[in-house]
């Protein structure tokens, strides 16, 4: 490796990567799974890496992305739902953050973060956990 490992963790990562061969990088970095039993026995020096290197890839294979929020078939999609009512409009679930925000062609459901509400997601570092912290904006 041309990048020079400097501290002990870097040494261990290089060793780990070298030993993992063809395993994809993300999985290599996942570290041990399950409770760090080594910590109890005091014998596994990699026990601390559990937190450091993140989790294993999800067991469930990835499926095509399915929007859960407002409809994309009835453009512009936000006045009525597929059944002609309003009940099914933009359900306030965390997936909306992915579906409606920034990349969405119809940015009606979230504040204009580029111009008026730059801090809107300031308390929402991970949408899966923090979406309830997003508050309504009254222009």
């Amino acid at each position: 490796m041309a990048l020079k490992p400097i501290n002990r963790k870097a040494d261990r990562m290089v060793t780990y990567l070298a030993n993992q061969g063809d395993v994809p990088p993300a999985e290599q970095m996942a570290g041990p799974v399950g409770p760090a039993a080594g910590a109890v026995e005091g014998g596994d020096e990699n026990a601390e890496d559990v937190v450091a290197l993140g989790g294993r890839l999800p067991e469930v294979p990835e499926i095509p992305h399915i929007p859960l929020g407002c409809s994309l078939v009835f453009a512009p999609g936000w006045e009525v739902d597929e059944a002609g009512g309003t009940a099914g409009l933009c359900q306030p679930v965390e997936r909306d953050l992915f579906d409606c925000h920034l990349a969405c062609f119809w940015p009606a459901h979230v504040p204009d973060q580029l111009n008026h509400s730059p801090d809107w997601t300031g308390k929402c570092a991970a949408a899966q956990n923090d979406w309830r912290k997003l508050e309504m904006i009254f222009p």
């Binding site: 870097a10 989790g55 294993r56 890839l57 999800p58 992305h65 990349a103 570092a125 956990n129």
Partner: protein, 528 residues
């Protein structure tokens, strides 16, 4: 203080919230790009489809903090806490990605006039493997909410042998306005039976740990010296019976040190930390007896006697910094060069923001400036293989060297517990005696449900504010007691410290990088 030209734009976890979800096709293409980065030239990306702006295979900077030392550029990777020294090609890759997300093919094309194709693709591959870069829309998996296993062994037990103190320091967290425990709610002195039960508890909770540390704490520890002696004797006896070792330390204000106590401390190899705030004018303004009399002239001869005769363990000083004593360098020189302490550690006072002694923002800036100057001194000493007693930098360097990435800011409630005078077990010594922070008792053991509920709430993954901070592997939100005093809850990260902690961590990283360039052999001492 200069930082490297590279800055992480917030890391993959942020990208995750803003990037368009990756479709199955895009995922496949992205995986293909990652594989291609292993050597084969990558084709141009397919045209953007419809409303999705995420081109497949686009690489984006991961989460890291870049810093420079001695002319070299290093990356501190987050959350792994690994440090790598960059070469020109990897720096060029990161700089190119900093300006815009690009595919491997675009990178090869862009950097082709400066580096061979193979070198660029190899660097991309390495950076991907280390997660210094990632694929746009394909964030690194979040660290697991993994709790420590049940039965995690106790390493250190802090025994509050008394809650009474013969000083009346203006800022004391135990007696001041920010106190958690009312002084009269618990016995003022621990009795021998409770102390023995505590020792038994310690060995039992120690599990497979061969060595356990017993720290005597107070109040003023030496007010209960008789119990302390008897407890140490009992602990040694129990250690022999269970085939373990026990190590002792204590913190004292030094007012009660007598020759026979010093002899005992030396004979029993007890590690001693003296709470002292600096030269006479500082000490006498803050660390006073209840009648207002300063304590400097009382403690100075006692400390000198201790330093002269207790040679079995290095003696350290612990300074509490307040708005009235922020001349860190002056205090450091006084305590090391004039008095002779081996090490000095500094900690800002714990208080709500409104107290007279609370440190203002300007005060924190001043303190940080002085810390940086002392860190520079430390570096010069380290490069010459000489000892320097600034324990704050030493402790941080050790964590950097090992690459710790903390799920919790400290071991409280896990490897470290505090025992109150009545035998109640709390998160740490600062909460000893607080019913709200009780996790068990030495007679009945630890309430595992309470303990794990607490561990769950305080895990770094539960701290939203920390999620995008590059210093979280080392800080993990900071002291629970500080948070409780500031915000009324232990679970909140210490947001008032953030800028300060990041600046200080950056300084220590630079010191570490410089030592690794100039005297790498010095770092081996942190391997122990």
């Amino acid at each position: 203080m200069s930082t490297a030209g590279i800055t992480s734009p917030g890391g993959l976890s942020v990208s995750a919230a803003t990037a368009t979800p990756v479709t199955a096709a895009a995922t496949e293409a992205a995986n293909g790009a990652a594989t291609r980065a292993n050597g084969a030239p990558a084709p141009a990306p397919p045209p953007s489809s419809g409303a999705s702006p995420a081109a497949p295979g686009l690489l984006t900077p991961g989460e890291f903090h870049a810093f420079q030392a001695d002319g070299a550029t290093f990356l501190y990777l987050v959350p792994s806490a690994a440090i790598f020294r960059m070469d020109d090609a990897s720096l060029a890759v990161l700089r190119a990605l900093e300006r815009a997300n690009r595919t491997p093919a675009e990178l090869v094309q862009r950097l082709g006039d400066r580096f061979p194709v193979e070198e660029v693709t190899n660097r991309i591959d390495e950076l991907l493997g280390l997660r210094a870069i990632g694929l746009l829309g394909k964030p690194a998996p979040a660290p697991p909410d993994m709790l420590p296993p049940k039965g995690f062994p106790l390493t250190t037990m802090v025994l509050n042998v008394t809650s009474k103190c013969n000083l009346a320091c203006t800022y004391c967290y135990e007696y001041g306005d920010d106190r958690i425990v009312e002084a009269d709610s618990k016995p003022r002195y621990m009795d021998l039976e409770t102390a023995r039960e505590s020792v038994d508890f310690m060995f039992e909770q120690g599990g497979s740990n061969r060595l356990v540390h017993l720290t005597f704490f107070g109040g003023e520890t030496l007010l209960n010296f008789k119990l302390l002696k008897e407890t140490a004797t009992y602990a040694r006896q129990r250690a022999r019976e269970v085939g373990k070792e026990v190590d002792f330390s204590l913190t004292t204000n030094a007012t009660l040190l007598k020759p026979e106590i010093v002899d005992w401390l030396a004979e029993n190899r007890v590690g001693v930390t003296v709470s002292i705030d600096g030269p006479r004018e500082v000490q006498d303004g803050l660390r006073v007896f209840s009648n207002g009399m300063g304590s400097y002239d009382i403690i100075l001869p006692r400390i000198k006697d201790l330093l002269a005769r207790h040679r079995t363990r290095p003696i350290g000083a612990r300074v509490t910094l307040t708005s009235q004593n922020l001349d860190v360098k002056h205090i450091f020189r006084h305590l090391t060069e004039e008095i002779g302490f081996w090490e000095v550690g500094f900690a800002p006072v714990t208080s709500s923001s409104c107290r007279d002694f609370s440190i203002s923002d300007a005060g924190y800036d001043k303190m940080l400036g002085q810390f940086e100057e002392l860190a520079h001194d430390f570096l010069e000493h380290a490069c010459a293989d000489r000892h320097h007693g600034f324990s704050n930098v030493k402790d941080t360097l050790e964590e950097i060297h090992k690459g710790v990435s903390k799920a919790y800011p400290c071991g409280a409630g896990l490897g470290l517990m505090g025992v109150a005078t009545d035998g109640d077990v709390a998160l740490c010594h600062r909460f000893a005696g607080s019913d709200e922070h009780k996790i068990g008792s030495v007679s009945e053991g630890v309430d595992v449900d309470v303990q794990y509920d607490y561990l769950k709430k305080h895990h770094i993954n539960s701290k939203t504010d920390c999620r995008t901070c590059w210093a979280r592997p080392i800080c993990a939100g900071g002291c629970y007691h500080e948070a409780h005093t500031r915000y009324g809850t232990t679970a909140t990260p210490n947001l008032h410290f953030c800028e300060w902690v990041r600046s200080w961590t950056h300084t220590c990283l630079r010191v570490y990088g410089a030592i690794s360039e100039r005297n790498p052999a010095f770092l081996a001492r942190f391997d122990a």
